[in-house]
Symmetry: C2
Subunit: 355 residues, 2 copies
Amino acid sequence: MFEITVQSKKSNARLGVLHTAHGPIETPVFMPVGTQATVKGVPVDALHDLQTQIILGNVYHLNLRPTSERIRALGGLHHFMNWQKPILTDSGGFQVFSLQNQRTIEPDGVTFKSHLDGSKHRLTPKRVIDIQRNLGSDIMMPLDICTPYPSTQEQVDHDMAITHRWEKEAFDYWQKNPNDQLLFGLVQGGTFKSSRKLSAEALTQHDFSGFSIGGLSVGEPLEILNEMTDYTAQLLPKDKPRYLMGVGLPENFRAAIKSGIDMFDCVAPTRLARHGNFFTNEGKKNIRNAQFQDDSEPLDSACQCPVCKQYSRAYIRHLNMANEALGATLLSIHNIAFVFQLIESIKSEIRSGDL
Amino acid sequence: MFEITVQSKKSNARLGVLHTAHGPIETPVFMPVGTQATVKGVPVDALHDLQTQIILGNVYHLNLRPTSERIRALGGLHHFMNWQKPILTDSGGFQVFSLQNQRTIEPDGVTFKSHLDGSKHRLTPKRVIDIQRNLGSDIMMPLDICTPYPSTQEQVDHDMAITHRWEKEAFDYWQKNPNDQLLFGLVQGGTFKSSRKLSAEALTQHDFSGFSIGGLSVGEPLEILNEMTDYTAQLLPKDKPRYLMGVGLPENFRAAIKSGIDMFDCVAPTRLARHGNFFTNEGKKNIRNAQFQDDSEPLDSACQCPVCKQYSRAYIRHLNMANEALGATLLSIHNIAFVFQLIESIKSEIRSGDL
C-alpha cells in the first residue's frame, strides 16, 4: 500500500508511493483543499494542468450540504465533482476546533449547530465513517477533537482520551466491513511531548493505513510546530505514510519533510489568493499593492506555472482591483503551483542525497 | 476584408468571413463580452475550448481602469489579457445610456463622473479612437449616443444628429492615420423607421469597415426589436458586416440572422449565469430551484458543451447554493456554448438552403 522508494541517509526524509483506489500518489505531496467539493476558484482542468495528485474534501461541510447521502446517490464524490484521482476527506475534527461556539462535545460524539441554518447535526465515530463511505473518499480520517492552542496539558489529555476512544471505535467499525478505502490514525497531544508520545503509542497499536499529526498549525509558533512535528513523526511507523494536517505554507515544507512527513494539506494557498496574496521566492506579496500596477513581470520570475507563463502582475492586479473572479483564480493556481514546485525541488534534493 | 461565402436565396441570411488583424471571424458570430479585460468568470482556456472567435472589451471601463495608456504600455489589450484572437471594443456610447445620472452630453463629447471614484473623464470622438488605438482592438466603434426607450422622435433625432457629427469626426480622424484596425459606423434612430432610414443614409456615405445597429435591446418589446433590426439591416450595404449591438438571447438570433445580421454581442449569457440562470432547449431555468438538487442530468441533455459532458445539475446547483465561484463559471461556459451551438445550427440551415 505504501512503498518507500528513496530513504535519505542524512535525515528522515523519504520519497514514496501511496497506492489508493483511484491511483498512486507520489510523496511527499501537497493536497489542495476542496472543502465543498471544489478547490475554491480553481477549475478541475487547471488542477490537472498542475498535475495535482490528490485533493481534500470535508465531512462536516459536505454532510450539511449537499449531504453525503445525496452525493452517494449521485455516484460518489469523485463522479459528483468530476475528479477521478484520489480524494482524502477530513473528519470534521478540525471544525470541532474552528466552530467552537457551535458545537457540544459529548462522550460519544459531537453535536454541531449548522453554520448555515442552525439545524443540529450529530457526528459520531461510526457516522463519520459512514459519511466517508457515502462520499467514497480514498483516504478517510476518524473523528477527533482538535484542541486549541494554548491549552493546559490537562485539557489536551482530556480531549485526547476521548479522541483515542473514538478512533478505536472508528477503526473497529472500518475493519468490520473493509473495502478499498484507507483509514488513517490521527495523533493529538497538543504541544506536550509526553502527550504526543502517549497518543502515538495508543494509536499505533491499531493497524491504520497511515498516521496523521493533528492539533498543530492552530496558532503555535513555527519553532513549536517544527519541534512537535519532528518529535511526533519519529514515534510513527516508518513503513506507513505520515500526514501533517493543516500545514502548507512555503516556509513549512522543508523542515517537515526532513522529519519524515509525506503528506500536507492547507487552505492557505487558495485562501491567501482570494485576498490578493501570492507566493514568491522573496516571500509573500499582495497584488493590490500599487507597485504592481505597471509591472509587466510574472508573479514570480522563476515560477514555471501556467499563470506566470501567460500573465503579468499588472493584469492580475487589474483583475483584483476590478473584483473580477479570474483574479482570485489566477492567484490560486499560482499559489498551488508554487507549493508543488517547492515540493518537487525538495524531492530532487532527497533524490540527489542532499537533504 | 469581408467575404460572403453563402447567400441564402430564401432570406437575407448569409455566411461570411470577416478578416481582422488577429485572424478571420466566421459569421454569423456571437461575441462574448469581456468588459474589464476578462469575460466574467470564464478563463481564456475555456473560451478557446468553446472555439470563441472574438470577444468584446469596453472603452468606458478600460479607460477608467486600468487606463488605455497603461494597457498600451503593457503591450496592448491582446497581450495584457492573453487573448490573441480578435477583439472588438465598444465606444462608451452604451454607458451614455446606462449611466445616465453620471454623465453630461456636450456638443463635442461626453463627460462622465467615474462610477468608481467620482473623478471626471471626458470622451470625445477623437479620444475614443485614441483609446481604442491604445488598446489595439481589431474592430473599433465610434462614440455615439444610445437613446433610451421609450423616447420621442424629437429626442431620438436630436441625439442622432450629434451622433452623426461625432461619427464623421471619428471617421475622418481614423482615415487620417489608417492602420489595420477596422472602424464600424453605428446607426441610431430609436424605434422610428424614418429616423433609422436617415441614420443609415447619413452613415453609409462614409466608407466604414462595417455597420452596427445601436439603440436596440434597451427595453423595447421583441417584435419592435425584430422589426427595427430587419428594417435597418436592409438599409445597410450588402457587402459589409452588420453588427446588432447588445443582442444575444437565444430567442433573438434566428430572426436577426434571417434579416442579414452577421455579428452579435450581449452580456446576458454570463450575467444570467452569475444569477444561476442557464439556457436549455426548453427555455431558461434557474439552477437554484430545489427541483435540481438530486438531478444527475446535464444542464441541457442535447448540449455538447464541456460542462454538460462533465457535470450534473445537482453538482452545479450545489456549487451555486454554496456560493462557490465554480458555479457561475460552469453556468457561464454553458450559456456561451449554448449560444454558439444555436448559431452553428442556424448556419447549417443557411448552408443547406433551409433558412
